[in-house]
C-alpha cells in the first residue's frame, strides 16, 4: 500500500524584501496510512509551513507532494479545492466561525461539499456525538471553553470523512488537563476512525503521548526522523536531545551533578532505562551480583507506546574494581554515563577512602 503522504525534496521560499527566506528546505518524508506522525521543532523551524504545503494552503517552490495518491503540487487553485476538502485541518486558535452555532460550524464543510440538508443534519449529530458535544449544538463558539472549541474544530475537520487530519499546534492554547482530553480524542480519531494524523507541535510531551513516528525540524530541514521510541532512546541530533529532555526530565544537568556530589561521595553514574535492558529489576540484580551498594539519587521512567524509557542516576558505593565490573556488565545491556570528578573533588574522595 502506498504512503498516505509523500514529500520528495520539497522546498518553500518566501520572498520577504530583498532576500528570499527558505522556510522549508529540501524535505523528504513518508507518512504511512494509520500513522500518528509528529513534526516537532521550535517556532520558526518551518513546521507550520510544511503542514500547509501538505494541504496546499501554500504552494511548494520545488519538489513533489502526493497525498492519498493524489499529487498536490503543480495544480491550479481550482483543482486543489476538492483535494483540500479531503484533508481535515485543526488550528491552534480553533478558527471557528463566530457567527455560526456549533452545529453551523460543523455543517459548513458539508455545505461547501453540497450535501443535502437531511444528510448534513444527520452527519452533524453523529460528529457532535463522537466529540461529546451533542448538548452544545445550538451554542455559539464564544460560549465554549477552549477545549470544547477544539472539539468543535475536530468535528468540523472530520465532517467530510477525510482520511488525513492535520493538527497545527492543536493543543498549544490549552491547559495541560484539557490538552490531555483533546489528545485522547485525537487518539480515538486515529484508532476508531482509522484517520492518519499529522501532529505539529513544539511540545515533545504531545509527541510522546500521541505519536508513533516523529520528524524533528530545525531551520527548515528535517534533521532526524523515525519511530518515536527509537528517537527517544537514541537521539542523534542536539536539537532532538533538547526536545527529549523537556519531555523526560530524567537526566541531571551539570548543576544538578554538582549538587549531588556535595551530598553523595560515591561514584555517580546515569543508567539509561530501555525496554531492551537496563530495567529496574536488571539493575538491582547486577548490583547484588557485584556486591555494590547503589542508591538512586535522580531520574525518571515513563513509557512511550507502552514501552519504558528514561534513566536512573545512582550513587555507587563499593570497591572500585567491583564497580568497574558492574559498569562493564551494564554497558553490555544499555547506555551508562559516569560523571568524572573535578580534580579537587577526587583528592578529597581519595583521602576519604584512605581513612
Amino acid at each position: 500500500m502506498t504512503a498516505m503522504v509523500s514529500l520528495r525534496n520539497v522546498s518553500k521560499e518566501f520572498t520577504a524584501g530583498a532576500a528570499p527566506v527558505r522556510a522549508v528546505d529540501n524535505v523528504s518524508l513518508e507518512i504511512q496510512r494509520g500513522d500518528v506522525f509528529g513534526i516537532i521543532g521550535y517556532s520558526g523551524a518551518g513546521k507550520s509551513t510544511l503542514v500547509r504545503l501538505i494541504n496546499a494552503l501554500e504552494t511548494a517552490t520545488s519538489g513533489t507532494i502526493v497525498v492519498d495518491d493524489v499529487p498536490v503540487t503543480g495544480r491550479t487553485e481550482r483543482e486543489l479545492r476538492p483535494a483540500r476538502a479531503r484533508i481535515g485541518f485543526i488550528f491552534q486558535q480553533f478558527n471557528l466561525l463566530s457567527s455560526r452555532t456549533v452545529a453551523g460550524n460543523v455543517a459548513y464543510p458539508l455545505r461547501v461539499a453540497r450535501w443535502s440538508k437531511e444528510r448534513r443534519e444527520a452527519r452533524v449529530a453523529e460528529l457532535l456525538e463522537f466529540v461529546g458535544l451533542s448538548d452544545k449544538a445550538r451554542q455559539y463558539p464564544d460560549q465554549l471553553s477552549g477545549g470544547q472549541k477544539q472539539r468543535v474544530g475536530i468535528a468540523r475537520a472530520l465532517a467530510t470523512s477525510p482520511a488525513l487530519l492535520l493538527a497545527d499546534e492543536a493543543t498549544s492554547a490549552l491547559d495541560p488537563e484539557t490538552t490531555r482530553d483533546v489528545l485522547d480524542l485525537l487518539r480515538r480519531v486515529n484508532t476508531e476512525l482509522g484517520v492518519t494524523i499529522v501532529v505539529i507541535s513544539h511540545e515533545m510531551s504531545v509527541v510522546s503521548y500521541l505519536c508513533n513516528r516523529v520528524a524533528v525540524m530545525d531551520e527548515g530541514r528535517v534533521v532526524e526522523q523515525g519511530d518515536v521510541y527509537d528517537i527517544f532512546a537514541s537521539p542523534q541530533q542536539t536539537v532532538t536531545r533538547r526536545f527529549i529532555s523537556t519531555a523526560l526530565h530524567d537526566r541531571p544537568s551539570p548543576d544538578v551533578i554538582e549538587r549531588l556530589r556535595l551530598r553523595h561521595p560515591g561514584r555517580i553514574v546515569t543508567v539509561a532505562v530501555r525496554d531492551t535492558g537496563g530495567s529496574g529489576t536488571l539493575l538491582t540484580e547486577r548490583l547484588r551480583a557485584h556486591g555494590v551498594d547503589g542508591s538512586i539519587v535522580y531520574g525518571g521512567i515513563t513509557d512511550i507506546g507502552a514501552r519504558p524509557i528514561g534513566s536512573l542516576t545512582l550513587e555507587l558505593v563499593g570497591a572500585n574494581t567491583d564497580i568497574d565490573a558492574l559498569l562493564a556488565s551494564l554497558r553490555e545491556q544499555t547506555d551508562v554515563v559516569e560523571y568524572e570528578r573535578e580534580p579537587g573533588h577526587q583528592e578529597a574522595a581519595l583521602q576519604e577512602v584512605a581513612r
Binding site: 494552503l57 488550528f91 486558535q93 463566530s98 461547501v112 467530510t160
Partner: protein
C-alpha cells in the same frame, strides 16, 4: 409655526417625507453598491482572496479622489451625469443620484475597514475546507463582520442625513432645504428649532435600531 400668516406644518411634513425618501433611497442604493465596492477593495488587496494589484490600485485611487470632494461641490460637478441618469437636474429624485454615488464611496471605506479587521485564521480554515474565494467572501468574511457592518451602516445613515441637508442646493427639498428657506433666510428661529429637533429624533431612532440590530447579531 407660521411664516407671514402661512401655516408651515404641512410643508414640514412634506419636507420630512422628502428627507426620509432621500436618505432611505441613498442608504439602500449606496449601501449595496458600497458593500460591493468595499468588498472588492478588501478582496483585491495584495495578499487577500482575490489579490489583484492593478484592480486594487485603481479602486483605491478612485475612492481616494472622490471622497474628499465637499458634497455641495460634488452635487454640481456631477449634474450632467445626474441629468443623463435621472432625466432631471433638480428635485428630490435628482439629488438622490449624487447622494447615492457619494454614499457608495463612503460606504466602501467603512466596509473595507471592517472586513480587514477579520481574523485571517477563519479565512484559512474555510480555504482548508475547500471553499472557493467568492463563497468565502459571502459566507465567511461578510457574515463574520455583520455586526460591525450594521454599526457602520448606522453611522452612514447619520452621514447621509447630513448630506441630504445640502439637497436644497438643487431644489431637492427636504428638511435642509426647508431650514434654509423658512428658518435661516427669514430669521424664523422657532422653525429652525423644530427642524433640528426632528432631525435629532430621526438620527436617534436610526442609531437605536442600528445598535439593537448589531447587538442581536452579536447575541450579546
Amino acid at each position: 409655526m407660521n411664516d407671514g400668516g402661512q401655516n408651515l406644518w404641512p410643508l414640514l411634513l412634506v419636507a420630512i417625507g422628502q428627507t426620509l425618501e432621500m436618505v432611505l433611497a441613498t442608504l439602500v442604493i449606496g449601501g449595496i453598491a458600497g458593500l460591493v465596492l468595499g468588498t472588492l477593495l478588501y478582496a483585491s488587496r495584495p495578499g487577500n482572496l482575490l489579490a489583484n494589484r492593478a484592480v486594487f490600485m485603481v479602486l483605491n485611487l478612485v475612492v481616494n479622489i472622490v471622497r474628499p470632494i465637499p458634497f455641495i461641490i460634488f452635487i454640481t460637478t456631477v449634474l450632467p451625469l445626474t441629468f443623463a441618469v435621472t432625466g432631471a437636474s433638480y428635485g428630490t429624485r435628482a439629488v438622490i443620484f449624487p447622494m447615492a454615488l457619494m454614499a457608495t464611496f463612503a460606504t466602501s471605506r467603512i466596509v473595507e475597514q471592517n472586513l480587514i479587521a477579520l481574523d485571517p485564521g477563519v479565512i484559512e480554515a474555510a480555504r482548508a475546507m475547500g471553499a472557493g474565494p467568492l463563497r468565502i467572501i459571502w459566507t465567511v468574511v461578510v457574515r463574520e463582520a455583520l455586526a460591525p457592518l450594521i454599526l457602520g451602516f448606522t453611522f452612514l445613515f447619520v452621514a447621509i442625513t447630513d448630506m441630504s441637508a445640502m439637497a436644497g442646493a438643487v431644489a431637492g427639498g427636504g428638511l435642509g432645504d426647508f431650514a434654509l428657506q423658512y428658518g435661516y433666510q427669514r430669521y424664523n428661529y422657532a422653525a429652525m428649532g423644530i427642524i433640528i429637533a426632528v432631525i435629532v429624533v430621526i438620527v436617534q431612532l436610526a442609531q437605536l435600531s442600528g445598535n439593537k440590530l448589531a447587538r442581536r447579531v452579536l447575541r450579546r
